[in-house]
Symmetry: C4
Subunit: 197 residues, 4 copies
Amino acid sequence: MNKTTRISTGRLEAFSDGVIAIIITVMVFDLKLQEIPTDNTVWDELLKLVPKLISYAISFLMLAIMWVNHHQLFHQIKRTDNKLLWYNIHLLFWMSLIPFGTHFIGANPWLWQSSLFYGVIFFMNALSFTLIRNYVIENDILLDSINKKAHIKIRNKNRLALFIYFLAAIFSLISVYIAFAMFLMVPAMYFKPDNNN
Amino acid sequence: MNKTTRISTGRLEAFSDGVIAIIITVMVFDLKLQEIPTDNTVWDELLKLVPKLISYAISFLMLAIMWVNHHQLFHQIKRTDNKLLWYNIHLLFWMSLIPFGTHFIGANPWLWQSSLFYGVIFFMNALSFTLIRNYVIENDILLDSINKKAHIKIRNKNRLALFIYFLAAIFSLISVYIAFAMFLMVPAMYFKPDNNN
Amino acid sequence: MNKTTRISTGRLEAFSDGVIAIIITVMVFDLKLQEIPTDNTVWDELLKLVPKLISYAISFLMLAIMWVNHHQLFHQIKRTDNKLLWYNIHLLFWMSLIPFGTHFIGANPWLWQSSLFYGVIFFMNALSFTLIRNYVIENDILLDSINKKAHIKIRNKNRLALFIYFLAAIFSLISVYIAFAMFLMVPAMYFKPDNNN
Amino acid sequence: MNKTTRISTGRLEAFSDGVIAIIITVMVFDLKLQEIPTDNTVWDELLKLVPKLISYAISFLMLAIMWVNHHQLFHQIKRTDNKLLWYNIHLLFWMSLIPFGTHFIGANPWLWQSSLFYGVIFFMNALSFTLIRNYVIENDILLDSINKKAHIKIRNKNRLALFIYFLAAIFSLISVYIAFAMFLMVPAMYFKPDNNN
């Protein structure tokens, strides 16, 4: 592939930002209360929204973490090539399925299938991130100034997230409550105090 | 957190702009007139749209004010850090709920609950702005050239908006008319002639 | 208003571009064919889509022209100020109502009210452009290198568009066919050969 | 047309990126599972989603290829002019119809009409690309450093895609299975190993 056909890191990030901004925002349009016939049913209708609101908030948080991680990763990259481009598009594909999983679990919170799908989608997202990280290491396109220790720490966190999502998907067959608790462990892990040092 | 993992102010603003552009625009897709069976019902159908159109216009105006304020705030900031990033994501989360509140109040304008939710959502938005402003002052990351008087004026305006939204939410329990009048006070406050000096 | 609080022309254009990109694209999501029960009804269903497709195509074309005009206008501007910012937000508000008008006329093509609304919305868009153009001339914030003759030509075209939309809105009370023909005159006017010189 | 009224290649690409990001993302919002009344129907409902998911994945892939091609093409262009601008808007129009075709074929996978429309839309997209490529060659606005051999290779690939879409549209009248196989040939062609050299 010759030089002129390359897409710059900046352009790749801008496009990814656009896609993430749309995914994170448009999900909210599933939160709707239609015209309510009588005052008595208002709270019933609002109550039905609670699982949708919770699944929206969790997905919003996860996507925000992914956005931050995406930037941190691409800021450490020297140059993009055609394969990295397609690894990134692969990640965006799985990200784009998050609204589907969010809507499914929001509309059917107690169904083990929705919990399973939600887990599988986030597992595939974490896997896509791992594939990108492995690729940039193997091909030595990380900036030299990157702290190796910080890098290994992030990779381990990535793998742990991958493992948690896998477990959550499995546990959704047994109990959706356990699966939910596990979904919340990943954002919690990213907000541990030592992460900000 | 090491230098290479930082997200630049420019990137943060561009992402926020994207999210705000989507929120402000996609709301209009709730304004729809389906195929109308007979000519006689056209005006009835259009009449039903009036509260939706009004709530859309108010939310559009509020979001535009927030967009302007967001830029003014971030143009005064020397650098971003991880905490500021998450304060901003927190703001975007509450902004993203505005279409929900707008749709709810547009479909059920005379319900005190919709007026209450609308007030609470805007209160949380004003609060998120205040948290960002407090953080940048406490951590001294405002540009030195910023006029202190202008800054205090903006903070006071912020607090007043916070107070008005709080009152509007409370008053919606008594009368939705009073609550509506209060919602309109905030944009009015931002368009007072002395604001343009 | 002090210097640091100003929003740059670039930022203003980027935000406007984002809003226009969303408006122009999301309109297509009203073009949908649900699951069709029997093969016999396919063509009936497709036929019902024709007015929606036509109104979509016209609105797409009009928005594309507006996008081009918006850039041409802002590339001729020396600096932005607070008033220009709000004139632009005013324009974006009327642009954001185009999907509403497009959906209304697409679902009810033979209703004079939908033709009237479509005309009024585009009239308000043309008016918003005229307001911006008048403001930048009065306040002398156009680049000096701008050809005065070219400028007057554009302003006259603007006024003619304004007049055509006004007439189209009026004529929709008499015949929707005449109104439709007039809506098509505006894009035709912008594609006259001498426009590319 | 004088110099100041020109839209830069960067601005054109950014706007196109925005439109493509929206098209590629918002399609996923047709993938929805409403509240499911009884557990017994879950798999039936999920099964109905399969054709929608497949058509979404194919369209996502095609749009990603188009995005990459769009950048490669515009990175080889010296300057934009008014006609190129409108050729690009013409391409964006046909791209914007992809979600319509995707929804139609996803909801009615065994209907030959949906397969025909899907083929026609992608044919028009490939044609729009060909028109742009022909225009830039005829008007000599390609960068001189571009490898002529690479260019001819891309043009031939373009023409082959055009021919495949045309055949797929025709074959959909005979068998939707053959048409589907042909739709998959285009992305396959773009991922042949020699493409990455």
